[in-house]
């Protein structure tokens, strides 16, 4: 499953690719960033929050391991995290990036307040397995179904305790981004209180 990282008000999708073309050294990870493939490693330096970035292909002169594997163009950066926030100081400017869990975001984007919870697909994919039936009461964290998107599987779990009220898909069904995967109804403890 990919991750949204928001930078300067724009969300970008970043995910590891694990394709066989990866030829760089240990610690280097092949990434797809908005569909663009790069290989990168972030090596800790000796000072607090100091790191050295290796990236291939080099980006605007940043990073760059040459063909012989020489590392003399590593870019020194400063990085620190606070929960989902990442602060990066690169080439004299500081940037603030927010990691957004795609599933949580899709729910936030789609869910109206109150009533029932619809869990929607953050990306197109296919259902691998369905773990519950309509009418089942589930606890928070219970596995509802397993989906696969871009060769990676994700477990869809109940965000809160509830009752399954809609389950239109079965193993093998494919879906579009935004499609309702499963709909839960909150187990109300008080009358009329929105979820």
């Amino acid at each position: 499953m990919g991750y949204d990282f928001e930078l300067d008000g724009l969300a970008s999708l970043v995910h590891p690719t694990f394709d066989l073309e990866s030829t760089r050294g240990l610690g280097t990870i092949a990434l797809s960033i908005d569909g663009r493939r790069v290989e990168a490693a972030l090596i800790p330096g000796s000072q607090s929050c100091e790191y050295f970035l290796d990236v291939h292909p080099d980006l605007d002169g940043i990073g760059g391991i040459d063909a012989r594997g020489e590392l003399d163009r590593r870019e020194r950066v400063f990085v620190a995290c606070d929960g989902d926030l990442v602060f990066v100081h690169l080439r004299g400017c500081t940037h603030r990036i927010e990691a957004i869990n795609a599933l949580v975001k899709a729910q936030k984007d789609a869910a109206p307040s109150g009533g029932d919870d619809a869990l929607r697909a953050p990306m197109p994919g296919v259902v691998v397995d369905v773990a519950v039936t309509v009418g089942a009461e589930v606890e928070a964290g219970a596995l509802l179904l397993t989906i696969e998107s871009m060769k990676l599987q994700t477990a869809i779990v109940a965000p809160t305790a509830g009752r399954v009220v809609e389950l239109g898909l079965s193993a093998g069904s494919s879906f579009e981004q935004g499609a309702v995967l499963v709909r839960l109804e909150g187990l109300d403890t008080e009358e009329g209180e929105p979820q």
């Binding site: 499953m1 991750y3 990282f5 930078l7 300067d8 970008s12 970043v14 590891p16 694990f18 394709d19 066989l20 990870i29 990434l31 960033i33 908005d34 663009r36 790069v38 990168a40 490693a41 972030l42 000072q47 607090s48 929050c49 790191y51 970035l53 990236v55 980006l59 605007d60 940043i62 990073g63 870019e75 950066v77 400063f78 990085v79 620190a80 995290c81 606070d82 989902d84 926030l85 990442v86 602060f87 990066v88 100081h89 690169l90 080439r91 004299g92 400017c93 500081t94 940037h95 603030r96 990036i97 990691a99 869990n101 691998v128 696969e148 990676l152 599987q153 994700t154 477990a155």
Partner: protein, 495 residues
Amino acid sequence: MTSIPGIQKTLIANRGEIAVRVAKTLRKLGIASASVVHPQDADSPAARAVDEPCTIEGDTPVSAYLDGNQIIAIARRIGADSLHPGYGFLAENADFAEAVMEAGICWIGPPPAAIRLMGDKIESRRFTAERGIPLTPSVNEEDDPKTFAKRAIEIGLPLLIKASAGGGGKGMQIVRSERELGPAIELARSEAERYFADGRIFAERYVDQPRHVEVQILADGHGNVVHLGERDCSIQRRFQKLIEETPAPMMDDDLRSRICSQAVEVARAAQYQNAGTVEFVLAPNGEFYFLEMNTRLQVEHPVTEMVTGIDLVEEQLRIAAGQTLSFSQNEVRFDGVAIECRVCAEDPDQDFRPAVGRLLLVRPAEGEGLRFDGGIASGQEVSTAFDPMLAKVIAHGRDREEAIRRARRALRESVILGCTTNAAFLERILAHPDFAAGKVETGFIPAHASELGTFELSPDRRTAILAIAALSNRDFLERVRAVPEPYASMGAWQN
């Protein structure tokens, strides 16, 4: 014994970077140091910079630092023989200064009478006008309401119609043509009544594209008054200074010497003692007018220190202890150019909205001619409880070009992580050709707003930043590591 007879232990009645700054000089002189610390500042560099941090309390953090009685009680309790008020808070509160002195504590600042005189805009203008110091020409309505409009026009356009009891930019109307005068007067009067319950208004010549030029004064208790040069503080946003420099750019020596002499005259006439700053408005045509006098040490004092080599806090302590100034006007040396940039927790792209966050890294740039005056450290929480200024980045150079170059490098290489700051924005100002040419005036930032905005990131740059962010994010890395190696097993594996 300390270096200054009579001053053994000083209480700093302030916080943040100025408390750190004053403590540095106290330590240098062997004077015991104490400061008042609100619990929210308990982990701050200011609390750690002094020998004896003392807790103060209040309904809000700001109210604690404004509680004069509590502060004086603490000074007595710990046996402080002197008190330095810093800037802001109670620094220009004449009643507090008097109370400090009545408690037998040496007040590191000007006499209360001078604070009172210069703290009242109307009084200080009257005082200086009587002594022939140039002021922006103005006329009061109440002197003769029937002829007010006529007298206003005689000042010359453009005009500002202002509320006498006004402040904060309220109750001011700009008049650029005779036609606008009548309605502007009506509006100014009604706003004055509504906001200040006082309908008195006056008209003042409005200087378009003014420069803000101020002069640093030092005066001892023996009649000696010197100036330490002028500072140009024209780069401002919302009437707050962001960049200050000395000497003022594009100023001929004759004008410089006249402004500085006027400042000394004002200080002398007011029988001023200790450090102070006389502020002027400089019009594009070279005329200048007295604006006000600040009876305290100012935020931007480091640029003066770097060019003259004088420790202003030390001079304040010596003067307060009754010493004579150790140098005459002729002995003051001015060497090179210094520029200060105020790094603030705010987002210039969001109309300078204050930013909050937990500081994760504070790493000042180091190098030739650089000075970093900050009251911040990693782990500190930046909130809206206090002023958004985090630190001052100051650069000195043999000439203005070198100072600008060093300041730009200092802003790029200083790293503050955890909170949005205006550091990159400040660097863009310094990089602007009009700044390099010395074409500074108080409307600089709005005038160049479109050129000063954040550049859009190139796709390559964006990709690099995102790669770094992804490789730093714990969740992301866990996902990466969870996939079994080698990547040859196709099919189902749990993410």
